[in-house]
């Protein structure tokens, strides 16, 4: 009887040390299965005070901004110099006029906006109007206090545009809906959906390189030319403030 009792007190599971070892084993199995994620997370916390701080990030971003600004100014000066050599139209940023849209006809045949700045403020017929996103249209008519702008979606609008990817000129024609049509008089032009179009760098009507839109779909049924539907970047039916470029 005494012997049986002694054996039972000496079983391995009665020893605390064994359970501790078992727990450590289980923990190590967990570490193995989780591929050390526990360690990595732990390291995350203990190394946190020594990370490169927000301050350092700001300094680097500021440096990058300054670098871009300097590069941008150099390129702009270069661009203006080259444009003068080639006698092309220039884009002046100094004489922009901000104007509010006071009337908007963006449906049906009449696609126009009326702005609250007129000849009194120096707006002239033929001035280019841009909004958030890019080109909206050209001033067609001015009164003393207002100016009427023909949108590029109007059936009256025809503009020369530039496809940067394939370096080709095209004609952007308003059709009386929200998507003007791009006509390229070359059957072999490698135009693709997603191509970006801007005002032509060689244009005499528009300042160069104003973003206009993106090719949405291509129609290749016509024999001598390719046409594409353009989704405009500037949305005239929601824009309230615009810039008139002089």
């Amino acid at each position: 009887m005494l012997g049986i009792r002694r054996i039972s007190t000496n079983r391995w599971w009665h020893k605390k040390k064994n359970w501790i070892l078992f727990a450590i084993f289980l923990f190590l199995v967990f570490v193995r299965i989780s591929k050390g994620s526990f360690y990595k997370d732990f390291y995350y916390f203990i190394s946190k005070p020594f990370w490169p701080g927000q301050f350092q990030k700001e300094i680097i971003l500021e440096s990058i901004d300054q670098e871009y600004l300097i590069k941008f100014n150099l390129l702009k000066k270069d661009n203006i110099r080259l444009r003068r050599i080639l006698s092309l139209q220039e884009l002046s940023n100094n004489e922009n006029i901000s104007a509010a849209v006071i009337s908007r006809k963006t449906g049906s045949w009449w696609r126009q906006i009326i702005l609250n700045k007129g000849s009194k403020d120096g707006v002239e017929i033929g001035n280019v109007v841009i909004g958030p996103g890019g080109l909206l249209g050209r001033v067609k008519d001015t009164s003393l206090l207002t100016s009427s702008v023909t949108l590029i979606t109007s059936p009256e609008s025809k503009l020369g545009v530039w496809l940067d990817r394939i370096q080709i000129n095209g004609l952007l024609v308003g059709l009386g809906d929200d998507y003007p049509s791009l006509i390229i008089y070359s059957k072999d032009a490698d135009i693709k959906v997603g191509d970006f179009i801007s005002s032509s760098p060689a244009s005499t009507l528009l300042p160069p390189n104003i973003p206009i839109g993106i090719v949405q779909s291509i129609d290749e049924t016509l024999k001598s030319k390719k046409t594409a539907k353009i989704s405009l970047l500037a949305k005239p039916h929601v824009i309230d403030w615009v810039q008139i470029l002089k």
Binding site: S103, K105, T106, S108, D141, V173, L175, G176, I183
Partner: protein
């Protein structure tokens, strides 16, 4: 003063047409297209005052609306003059309910006529360029305008007709 306003109510409404044409309330649009506002005024006016008056005021309306739009090459005058003349030939119907529906149908027809005449001008002007491209958006514009004009005409035209008749009666007295 009040009497003056009552007498000239139809002319006051006439002055409001260009304003509403410019206002272009988007919430009232269908597929971005607005009803053809001048017809709502021209129909009751022509029905009361006859074809010749309709023709003349169609011309006046066309002149004003053309001056508000920047499309110099196209004009709304032929459509509005034709509608004014046509509306003058229509006699008032004794049944009010049928009258309401008639206004809708007549205005839809007028809007279709004006839209088609305008579209033909655009087609004629761009004859060589992009005829085929313009067809689908143009049909969409015409149909949306016809639908909206026909939908709103029974509400607006019958009210305007009632007001013009009332104003005319007071004026004749």
């Amino acid at each position: 003063m009040n009497k003056f306003f009552l007498k000239k109510l139809s002319i006051i409404c006439f002055i409001l047409i260009p304003i509403i044409f410019l206002w272009h309330p988007n919430w009232l649009g269908f597929l971005g297209v607005q009803p053809y506002w001048p017809l709502f005024w021209l129909l009751p006016w022509s029905m009361i005052n006859g074809s010749i008056n309709g023709l003349i005021f169609g011309l006046f309306l066309g002149l004003i609306l053309d001056s508000l739009t920047v499309n110099d090459s196209f004009t709304q005058i032929p459509g509005l003059m034709f509608c004014g003349f046509l509306f003058g030939k229509i006699k008032l119907h004794s049944n009010i309910l049928i009258g309401h529906f008639r206004y809708g149908l007549i205005c839809s027809f007028g809007s279709f006529l004006c839209g088609t005449l305008y579209f033909l001008q655009i087609l004629f002007r761009n004859f060589s360029d992009s005829n085929s491209l313009m067809l689908i958006p143009s049909f969409k514009n015409i149909l949306a305008e016809v639908f909206l004009t026909g939908f709103l005409a029974p509400f607006i035209c019958s009210q305007l007709l009632r007001i013009f008749k009332f104003s005319r009666r007071r004026f004749l007295q």
